[in-house]
């Protein structure tokens, strides 16, 4: 038996829907979410496959923010359905609990959360479903790897059964190939002609998935489904939607987030061309006009007296809130091995402090959304990482039932976690309520987008280390940051920060609980920030982006203290074979240990990053204009590489995202205002600064892993370690450009 059989329980049923109840009812009663959106002549074969005369459309219910997930999810279905993925269309599908991401929201966790929330007497009965159709934390493949193939296999099974019935043949004698059922007499019957019959057949409770050796499409690079659209200007982002009678808007924001509005005067704006009206909204004034630019111009003419922000006015106070948290109160002990205090007795220990700043996502497409409220029905067009949440949020803001809300998920001009939020959707909803019956698009200016962000947390760390007889024996790291869930819950539940300072969550220590280092005395303790700071949220790599910087810079300092080679020291401390393999790979790739020409240097960092062992070596060169990043060598273990070209693209993308956060990026507060407002003072790397990046993909890990985030976190420490090797200057506070010049 070389074909592996998945016995599918009622909880994880044939179409891969792991939501209790979905397939417990008769097929004709099934709430297949596609039924609500099917057009004439279309048939839904499971919630993942639509077939009509034009062909096959695969529902890929994860947000396409550039990571290529739609194409890979479609390939998973296509492989088992036996159709060439190049010949199918893809679509997001509607908001539905059927499409829950069970990695981010396992059923058990949802149930527990529900119980806890209800016991807190919060009216949050919608809590689990509304957050569950989420895209993030590079979980889409882990969630979809079996589920999407099951969906394809289920659809294929019932198409075969339909053919058997129609042509009076035993289904077990029939085969499939390239979108056809092959009859016993060799006739080829297209799926499209069998779909209507197949849709009446209950999907099987058990399907057999192909072993990897039989894959025809998976494991090979496929052309991305969105590529021709994106190269011809025809991919439609929410910002591109134009509807008859559309009203256009923007938001004039309080430069201090959360400060609110004391008073405003829009009399000058009222006389301006195209102006329609203003609306007061929490933290900004929504300006509506007949053209986006007219709205932006009118916004400039409005005079506002803004309120003061709820967070500290000076940047030093923000840093103090994380610095002073270190060692304060009861920490969360993330790792504890050996006896640190006893081990340090009689040894020369050294102490170091590190910090990282707030960062913003700076998606190329500024925040925006389109909404239409008409006859008690609400349509929302938005780039979003969470359609169910958007549906719930829309119903709550507008005050209509969720059944009356339709969410149209659009291509995203970047997201990186920013589009998990709903603030940009709320602006459109408020506007839609003010011009009921007309579609309205509210586009934030770049300045609004940047200064009204939901930032990667500021964070700091304190490290104590000791070496004995040339061996690292003590690694004691304390980390501190604002807790992210507390901040996001504050936005979701609009409870304006009452409980923020009391809460702690795993975002603070993300990435620190499962690093494979094996030191005799190894401790990591986490602390939450002492007071309410800027709103913080999900970002590419989340808490790892700060913690891996702290951890891997400290490792380098430990190696230096012991006079050890950073590569050999790590190899001596790590037993995990997959992790050793990526280190050995970058050692070979970078020719680690060989002498570099004068003015060149290398730095290394390692992390199990979002689960994937990742090692990076950064090679830099001193030029007259400053430091130039010459090469980056990356080895990453993804478990199973479904689309090698896309994986390579994602890793390179993550590496450069990491480089930017190391070299360039910082969001700062001055007199309560966010100082960065556009790309002039939030600079990003440009093409001439991009190094050569070599990527080595490993497939040793037992589980399949996503790669959207894995390239990010290990880059800044590898760069910092290279800068130290080159200059002898240890830069412990990001971004590096505050302390050293780059070419």
């Amino acid at each position: 038996m070389d074909r592996r059989t998945f016995i599918i329980s009622t909880a994880a049923v044939a179409s891969g829907v792991a939501v209790a109840g979905y397939f417990l009812v008769r097929p004709e009663e099934i709430d297949n979410p596609l039924y609500a959106i099917l057009k004439d002549g279309q048939v839904a074969v499971t919630p993942y496959v639509i077939i009509d005369d034009a062909g096959i459309t695969i529902i890929t219910p994860r947000a396409e923010m550039g990571q290529g997930i739609q194409s890979t999810l479609a390939a998973l279905v296509a492989e088992e359905l036996d159709v060439p993925v190049t010949e199918v269309s893809v679509a997001y599908g509607p908001a539905s609990i059927v499409y829950t991401n069970n990695i981010m929201y396992p059923e058990e966790a949802i149930r527990k959360q529900l119980i806890r929330r209800v016991s807190n007497r919060l009216n949050l009965s919608y809590y689990p479903p509304r957050l569950s159709q989420s895209t993030g934390a590079q979980t889409s493949l882990s969630d979809g790897f079996v589920k999407m193939r099951q969906a394809g296999a289920s659809a294929r099974t019932i198409l075969i059964q339909a053919a058997g019935k129609k042509y009076n043949m035993n289904p077990s004698d029939l085969k499939t190939e390239d979108g056809y059922v092959i009859l016993t007499d060799g006739r080829r019957i297209p799926y499209t002609s069998l779909a209507a019959d197949a849709a009446k057949i209950p999907p099987p409770k058990e399907v057999t998935l192909k072993p990897r050796s039989e894959w025809k499409q998976l494991g090979k690079s496929q052309p991305r489904k969105d590529m021709p659209l994106k190269c011809t200007g025809t991919a439609q982002y929410a910002i591109d939607l134009q509807l008859p009678g559309m009203v256009y808007g923007t938001v004039k924001f309080n430069p201090s987030i959360g400060g609110g509005i004391k008073s405003f005067d829009d009399s000058e704006a009222q006389g301006m061309k195209g102006f329609i009206k203003t609306l007061e909204w929490d933290d900004g004034i929504i300006v509506l006009a007949t053209n986006t630019w007219y709205a932006m111009e009118a916004a400039k003419a409005i005079k506002v007296e803004w309120g003061a922000p709820p967070y500290p006015m000076k940047m030093e106070e923000h840093y103090a809130a994380v610095d002073n948290a270190l060692g304060q109160g009861e920490p969360t002990e993330v790792r504890s091995q050996g006896d640190i205090e006893a081990a340090m007795e009689g040894l020369n220990t050294f102490e170091r402090k590190y910090s990282v700043p707030y960062l913003t996502h700076a998606t190329m497409e500024p925040m925006n959304a389109v909404a239409l409220l008409k006859d008690g029905e609400l349509d929302i067009w938005a780039a979003n990482q969470n359609p169910l949440g958007v549906r719930y949020f829309g119903s709550k803001i507008v005050g209509i039932p969720e059944e009356s809300v339709r969410v149209h998920s659009m291509f995203m001009g970047g997201a990186f976690g920013r589009r998990q939020e709903t603030d940009f959707i709320e602006a459109a909803l408020r506007a839609a309520m003010a011009v009921e019956g007309k579609p309205v698009k509210v586009t934030w200016t770049r300045e609004g987008d940047m200064s009204h962000g939901v930032y990667r947390p500021i964070a700091s760390a304190a490290f104590k280390g000791a070496v004995k007889n040339g061996k690292p024996v003590v690694f004691d790291l304390q980390i501190s940051a604002p807790a992210l869930f507390a901040s996001s819950d504050r936005r979701w539940f609009q409870n304006k920060g009452k409980e923020i300072a009391e809460r702690m969550d795993r975002s603070v220590w993300l990435g620190m609980n499962d690093q494979p280092y094996n030191l005799p005395n190894y401790r990591i303790r986490a602390y939450k920030a002492l007071k309410l700071l800027l709103p913080v949220g999900w970002t590419r790599g989340v808490g790892e982006t700060q913690n891996v910087f702290f951890h891997e810079t400290a490792m380098d300092e430990l190696a230096l203290e012991g006079g050890l080679d950073p590569m050999e020291m790590r190899l001596s401390l790590i037993d995990d074979a997959d992790s050793r393999a990526v280190l050995e790979a970058v050692k070979r790739m970078s020719n680690w240990g060989s002498t570099l020409p004068e003015g060149y240097a290398r730095g290394l960092a390692f992390a199990r990053s979002s689960g994937a062992p990742t090692a990076q070596v950064v090679e830099i060169r001193q030029t007259e204009e400053g430091i130039r990043i010459e090469k980056v060598f990356v080895a990453v273990d993804v478990g199973i590489a479904l689309d090698p070209r896309n994986i390579e693209a994602q890793i390179k993308s993550g590496v450069i995202y990491g480089l930017d956060s190391g070299i360039n990026s910082t969001i700062t507060v001055s007199e309560g205002k966010i100082e960065q407002r556009n790309f002039n003072n939030y600079p990003l790397l440009r093409i001439q600064q991009i190094p050569e990046i070599q990527v080595h993909i490993h497939e040793n890990n037992k589980e399949i892993l996503g790669v959207g985030e894995s390239g990010v976190a290990a880059n800044p420490p590898a760069l910092g370690n290279a800068i130290f090797a080159l200059t002898g200057k240890r830069i412990r506070n990001l971004p590096f450009r505050k302390a050293i010049k780059f070419a």
């Binding site: 969105d226 011809t232 134009q242 630019w293 970047g414 200016t445 390179k652 590496v655 995202y657």
Partner: protein, 170 residues
Amino acid sequence: MDKTNLSGMGLFQLEVNGSQYEVEVDGKMPLLWVLRDELNLTGTKYGCGAALCGACTVLVDDVPVRSCVLPVVGVKGKITTIEGLGDAKAPSLVQEAWIETQVAQCGYCQSGQIMSAHALINNNANPSDSDIDAAMAGNLCRCSTYPRIREAIKRAAEKKRTLSESKDTL
């Protein structure tokens, strides 16, 4: 600062992608917003409004310009936008190279990238790395597709050279 009011209004004739348009807007309105909100040509993107990111790049008489800071009253010449280069069925040479190289990730900046690359290739069928740097430095890509942008430009340039060689031999 003068107010944006009716005094700035005017009728403007534009030639975009070979078609004639007439719009009645404030003359200070940047070409970007005329294209997007008045002419419904949304392939050209808003990114920064300050000529910092290049997402709004279009060609005016084959020269790349940042349409987000070019007032419509100042437009003198024929405008080409991404829609004017080609479509999925008949992509332009640069678009074809972009598709073959699988450049795009989120894709939002790519219209601007392609317009800048198109202008580069038009003037230089054999661009060096530093030529590419100079031509593309104004175009940001947050997904950092830069390695493939460079590759695609070289591929497009090669296509162009092959085309002109085959013309020469005819």
